[in-house]
């Protein structure tokens, strides 16, 4: 499997992704799935900033990600697929049934969310969505970095 991580992270392409996971795991490409950023070239440039030249960055809508997921899975390089929020990851999983593991990497505090871990704040609705994914045999764990212990999402909801 060439996509080694399907990750929810509201900071998107940042240090933990590029360095913490990217360098440690030898990541060759990052896919950012976000309909808004896909339509905004300036935001795309912003998120390319600081990414090493050897790492490709692809921007996709959920529909484009669903269409291209098979080729990303065949890619000889390792890749990370990122979504900014639970809702987008749920939509992606619905469109790409082969996604069997989801990493909750960073969802920060907002009104209506409850702290579940230092880096995971979820509303009851988001927690229920993740639980529903887990109930469909998707392994959903929270883990900010490869060096920390993954926490099954069912322990957080």
């Amino acid at each position: 499997m060439s996509v080694v991580l399907y990750r929810i992270d509201d900071r998107l392409i940042h240090g933990q992704v590029v360095v913490g996971w990217g360098q440690r795991m030898g990541i060759g490409f990052i896919v950012l799935v976000d309909d808004g950023i896909r339509a905004n070239l300036w935001e795309q440039e912003l998120y390319r900033m600081g990414v090493p030249g050897a790492m490709d960055v692809v921007f996709a809508t959920v529909a484009e990600a669903a269409a291209h997921a098979p080729e990303w899975e065949r890619d000889p390089r390792k890749g990370i697929v990122l979504t900014p929020d639970v809702e987008t990851m749920v939509a992606l999983c619905a469109a790409v049934p082969d996604v069997r593991k989801v990493n909750v990497g960073g969802i920060h505090a907002r009104e209506g969310r409850i702290e579940r871990l230092r880096y995971v704040f979820l509303s009851d609705g988001e927690a229920a969505q993740l639980k529903a994914l887990a109930d469909r045999a998707v392994e959903v764990t929270a883990q900010d970095l490869p060096t920390t212990k993954p926490v099954p999402v069912v322990e957080l909801v």
Partner: protein, 126 residues
């Protein structure tokens, strides 16, 4: 005399506060710098923190790592604004120097900070 520039250090965890403490220890308490941490913040939350720190003044925003969440937030905030300049790769040398050159234009101060910061990085071979 026009108002002096301020500097806002925005960085991961406690880095900004630690750098600010070090600058004050070297240059004095009136260094014109403010520290902001990204701890617990997504981009909208960090944008609010940064806007509050800038407070509508002309500022150089010093960020730790190009491509990090602090730099993303700072660059997005400064977009289209002539009164904000963003410098990445903040180090102590550039901050200490900035404390004594806050009378420059924001553009000149940012360029100077980059030069001083680069000069401060080197390999000591003796």
């Amino acid at each position: 005399m026009s108002e002096l520039l301020i500097g806002v250090i925005v960085a991961h965890t406690e880095v900004a506060a630690a750098l600010l403490a070090a600058v004050r220890a070297i240059a004095g308490e009136d260094a014109g710098l403010v520290a902001v941490s990204n701890r617990g913040c997504d981009r909208p939350a960090l944008t609010r923190e940064l806007e509050a720190a800038v407070g509508g003044r002309s500022a150089v925003v010093f960020t730790d790592m190009a491509g990090g969440s602090c730099a993303h937030t700072a660059v997005a905030l400064a977009r289209g604004r002539a009164d904000l300049k963003v410098v990445t790769g903040v180090n102590l040398a550039m901050l200490v120097d900035f404390a004594f050159h806050r009378d420059l234009t924001v553009e000149a101060a940012a360029r100077r900070a980059v030069e001083v910061g680069r000069t401060a990085v080197g390999l000591v071979e003796r």
